[in-house]
Amino acid sequence: MTDSGEKSRDDHAAPAGVPGPELTRRGFFSKGSAAVAGGAALAAALSPLRDLTGDNVPSVEEFLQKHYKAMTPEEIQVVLKRIERKVEQRYEVDVSVQDVKPLDGVEFVYALNVSRCIGCRKCVHACVEENNHSRAPEIQYIRVLKMEKGSINVETSDHHYDPPLVPEHDSYYMPVQCHQCAKPPCVKVCPVEATWQEPDGVTVIDYDWCIGCRYCEAACPYWARRFNFADPEIPSGELNPDMTYLSNRPRSKGVMEKCTFCLQRTRQGRMPACVEVCPTGSRKFGNVLDPESEVAYILKHKRVFVFKEDVGTFPRFFYYFDERGSRYHEPLDVVDPGDSA
């Protein structure tokens, strides 16, 4: 009934010159040009895809790559070779990407002497260079907080200080980086298990498994995780060629990264880059399971505290300070809180 009705209307309408489904000359041009313009607009909207290079598009092997822990040693070797090739292609330098396993009977612990740190920020830049951080946008694992003497108040701390000389007499400095917690909240929240705690206590990320949801960044009470908002830029000349899969190989856009206690160095017996560069010797690192180690001595004999103890993360990063009797650089005339009140 409807069909016949429309049919009869069309039959009557066409001779009357009313535009209908039939192709008229005017209809053809107007609709055709609209279709062409629409197609052009679609192409223009997709035009940012022109900027895609081979680096941005994963190959089939990359797409099918398994989780780090699910790979057999042979598969890992294949992946390492492929990453090496890709990094060499991109940065035009010879690199070696390895997979260094945790050592038996080793648990890494870090200790930092807040009464000796002068806030020179050399650790920040040594870390950037060692771990192949993106220079633009800038990514840094260590933040040095300038704190007012007499309190531990992070709310009023400042990490943008820039005096001509440090230390300033009314401040002390508290560098914060990943605390490698024994109960890491960042690991708990990861929806894809791309981050986990290694047997030596270091929390690592499989950069190829991370989906970039940034839950871990939100979960970390120490603000220790960093996100690659853009493709990292590293000058080829400054690339550290000694890389491992879980630590300092170049990251890509859209993944998280964090301090790994310089696994590429520390799992081969060396000190992290921040310890090596610290001019004051405020930074101490070692195996806490070895009773002869420096960090074991510090935990046993020095006055130690952890940052944000109340959040229950059990950090492996400890702050300590010296006895008043050995802090010769401080004036003896201490302000008495009772004076002005």
Binding site: E6, K122, H125, A136, P137, S151, S326, Y328, P337
Partner: protein, 236 residues
Amino acid sequence: MVKPASDSSTASAQVSPAGIWAIAIVFAALAGLLFANPWPYQRPYAGAGLVPEWATDTATVRSPKLKPEVTVAGYTYPCSACHKLFPSPSETDRALTQHGEISLEHGINNRCFNCHSRTSRDAFADHRGAAIPYDQPQLLCAKCHGLVFRDWTHGVHGRTNGYWDASRGPLDRQKCIRCHDPHAPAFAAMRPAPGPNTLRMGDTQPDTTHHPAVENPLLIHKQPAESVDPKPGEGH
């Protein structure tokens, strides 16, 4: 049934050709605009900052030679070369005629012979006057700085570089005078390396509006008297 159907079909067909042309032109203009890309994407972050060389230099602050030597006009002499010919008098208050470039800023330790041996100029002196060799300055410092020396022997004070794992390589414990000038031992102030310049590093000024320092009971003695307000909530 028929009537509404025909109404809707004629409504869609009644768009005038001028309207269709207008849509087409707008689409084409948009397409051209997007292709021409007149406003290229601006990165919201700063360009790569240059890290100064000195900021990643792992050398110690000082590099003393740990030998009783003095270099004059390109020649190197042991201290005893001069002090054999000219034995020093016992310490007096008279002005020095030599070594005037040394200004002693070592707290209450303001006598040369507290550290330098009076009898053997190629050595330091311990409490009993016996010689301490120049390459063992920590034994000399330990005469007064017992607490620090104890920490240093355990690697807790001062720099340790190299390997934490003794089976892989040496642990290099730096001696006192690689960081401290014995004549002015306070650790020298230095220029800080450039600060962070990242998008996600927060405000450049610490936030004191929501958490005024006056709310911190530990800092109350640092506040001027008028800012210690009985009703701190009012000012904001």
